[in-house]
């Protein structure tokens, strides 16, 4: 096994699936010769050809429609939305069309589409590039929404998504693309799409999180450990539908919970996780559910990102409050 970054792991997953199945298609804006603005699709067109990896005109709804039509004719499309902040332009195709095709046709047709997009803040992009809009798609029945937090999961989840006959929105946090390396098998493997992962075990409190916040939570857990507080970190990985089993089992072990997301308080999936725990795990709790999230403003101008985004210290503070309740 070699150590690799998340962006390389994603590139590997795409390459393997493109080579394994000629019906797998990668397309979007600048994904061809340019290899994508983050190089997620780097070299793929040269390796498998323009039939399978191709650029499209610059129009997100068109890209979504292309995906739907290609899936109906027997292909497994992997469209890229260049930045998830542009999703509004293709929201009808994703949330009203692709998500409900299987349902709408009474189960007689499949929609094996994997919509990839970078998202997430802290990298000083212009407006509408960094917004955490995962809550919008997580609230759409018929979509599975996947957010990996490390290279190993990214590769395994992406391969599972591509092979799945269901539509999947696969969101890649920009800050994680090249921030660290991890051992990743060279060959193809899958990570289940309906399972959260316990990324650190602990017995005092559960941090439930996803995406880049998994890392802030792990750092917070390290710091808390020095003070004798053992935090368990649950990485949701698939934020919709939620893995209720893993969430509730962890709450049962620790009896305290802090939910951490990068999205604004009213967005993301913390609200849904909190409701689940309140509904099915409330008697396990020895303190209120804690929440760490961003304030309810539109995504901030980039010089203010650092003070706007939730971080390790916010998590540590909230955990202490909950543990000492």
């Amino acid at each position: 096994m070699a150590k690799t970054t998340m962006i390389k792991a994603i590139n590997q997953a795409l390459e393997e699936e493109l080579k394994r199945d000629k019906n797998v298609l990668v397309f979007g804006e600048d994904v061809g010769q340019n290899g994508g603005v983050f190089r997620a699709t780097d070299g793929l067109q040269a390796k498998v050809g323009k039939e399978q990896v191709f650029d499209t005109p610059l129009a997100e709804s068109g890209i979504g429609g292309l995906a739907l039509g290609l899936a109906l004719t027997g292909f497994r499309p992997i469209p890229e939305i260049q930045f998830f902040g542009f999703v509004f332009e293709v929201m009808d195709e994703i949330a009203a069309q692709i998500s409900r095709t299987h349902f709408r046709l009474g189960g007689t047709r499949k929609m094996p589409v994997t919509i990839r997009a970078p998202f997430g803040g802290g990298v000083h992009t212009p407006e509408l590039h960094s917004d955490s809009l995962e809550g919008l798609v997580a609230q759409t029945p018929g979509l599975k929404v996947v957010i990996p937090s490390d290279p190993y999961d990214a590769k395994g989840l992406l391969i599972a998504a591509i092979r799945s006959d269901d539509p999947i929105v696969f969101l890649e946090h920009m800050k994680l693309y090249r921030s660290f390396k991890q051992e990743v098998p060279a060959e193809a493997y899958t990570v289940p799409l309906d399972k959260a992962a316990v990324k650190r075990e602990g017995h005092d409190v559960t941090l439930i999180t996803y995406g880049y916040m998994v890392h802030e939570s792990l750092r917070a857990a390290d710091e808390l450990a020095k003070e004798g507080i053992e935090a368990e970190v649950v990485d949701l990985r698939t934020i919709s539908p939620l893995d209720e089993e893993t969430i509730l089992a962890s709450v049962k072990r620790t009896h305290r919970v802090v939910l951490v997301q990068e999205a604004q308080r009213q967005a993301g999936v913390n609200g849904q996780v909190a409701a689940l725990i309140a509904e099915k795990g409330i008697l396990e709790l020895e303190a209120p559910i804690g929440r760490v999230d961003a304030p309810d403003t539109p995504y901030p101008f980039s010089e203010a990102e650092e003070s706007w985004l939730p971080n390790k210290n916010d998590i540590v503070t909230k955990v202490k409050e909950i543990v000492n309740f």
Partner: protein, 366 residues
């Protein structure tokens, strides 16, 4: 390939030169013999019968809707040449992406009539299409089918299929971003797609002149680099010729075609409360009634001795019987189960939904 229409020239035509193609005038006389379709007398009669079938279906659907036996219904009377003659030029394996008013084409394409009624009533069985029905259910979001048609057509091209994708929207649909994205994508990828704009003059109540300053909708194809042409949408023979020639051109690998049919709905936008008298004059409606596609085609066939009053009466009785039977079948459909709905959200049902499925199964067994 010899074609009756020079599609290449239409890609760069000046908008001022766009004129509606007509084969049969309002008196049922052939005015453009060079564009007369390649149809035998038998097939001409068949085409007329399909149009008559559609008119009867419209009348009966209106009544069934008022009796509360049908749900959503968008009247089609007046648009038979545009809808039926265009469908008549296509093949069973061509991929149809209809809008909500295009139910007659869907049934002609192979959707059992009782399923069309089930769709209207709001039953999932109306959307469970047989494997060999190459079509999507009617699209509700205006223009969404245009970007999807580009995708289907790209899929057909990649597979080396001899078939085309064809889709319909109205004049209001051409104001949507998806209209432009769809025709532009199809042109950029040079895919076999035929985009039909059924210009009936109104997007519910908003007239075409308020939709756009463009003199024609056909000219919108020029900006996408695809041939755009206008046809008299009350003239079945012209619509058939244009559609079948476009199909030949597109299926041969020349890319998409945009067709604007000039037509009119005699009735309201839908039966859900629209009153066209709020936005149309009686004069205008009368003018269009004179252009009724059935009258002019019937006059032509009658003059050739191909159609008679007796034939029409027999056929009408037969269609009415067919509709009655289909409605009966639709009314016998089993009650829908929410547990089945839940199972059809995903192919691979995630564990999170299992509890909801179990809950509804238990409720449904009560």
């Amino acid at each position: 390939m010899t074609l009756k229409i020079d599609f290449e020239a239409l890609k760069t035509l000046s908008p001022a030169e766009i004129k509606p193609i007509q084969v049969l005038d309002e008196q049922g006389k052939v005015v453009a013999p060079e564009l007369f379709p390649d149809l035998s007398d038998e097939r001409l009669v068949e085409l007329f019968k399909k149009m008559l079938w559609s008119r009867i279906l419209d009348e009966r659907s209106t009544k069934l809707n008022r009796q509360g036996r049908l749900g959503f219904f968008a009247p089609t009377a007046g648009e038979e040449a545009s809808q039926i003659a265009s469908e008549f030029a296509m093949q069973k394996e061509d991929f149809l992406l209809p809008a909500y008013r295009d139910v007659p084409q869907l049934v002609m394409h192979g959707l059992p009539l009782e399923k069309a009624f089930l769709w209207s009533r709001g039953h999932v069985l109306g959307n469970q299409y047989p494997d060999d029905l190459v079509a999507l259910p009617p699209q509700i979001i205006i223009g969404a089918q245009y970007v999807q048609a580009a995708g289907v057509a790209l899929g057909l091209k990649k597979k080396g299929s001899p078939n085309v994708a064809y889709t319909y929207t109205g004049d209001g649909g051409t104001s949507q971003g998806d209209f432009y994205e769809g025709i532009n994508f199809a042109g950029a990828f040079q895919v076999p797609a035929i985009f039909v704009v059924q210009n009936n003059g109104y997007a519910i109540s908003v007239p075409r002149t308020v939709q756009t300053a463009a003199k024609t909708l056909a000219q919108k194809g020029i900006a996408a680099g695809i041939p755009g042409l206008q046809v008299d949408g009350m003239d079945a023979l012209a619509v058939y010729t244009v559609m079948s020639e476009a199909r030949k051109y597109s299926a041969a690998g020349n890319g998409p075609v945009l067709i604007e049919t000039l037509t009119y709905r005699f009735g309201p936008h839908t039966l859900s409360g629209d009153d066209p008298h709020r936005y149309r004059t009686a004069n205008e409606e009368n003018e269009w009634l004179q252009k009724d596609p059935l009258i002019r085609f019937r006059t032509y066939l009658d003059a050739k001795g191909l159609w008679s009053k007796e034939q029409e009466e027999d056929f009408t009785a037969q269609v009415n019987e067919e509709i009655t039977e289909a409605m009966k079948k639709a009314e016998q459909a089993p009650k829908q189960k929410i547990s089945e709905y839940l199972k059809n959200v995903f192919v691979e049902t995630p564990q999170a939904l299992e509890e909801q499925i179990a809950k509804f199964v238990a409720k449904e067994e009560e």
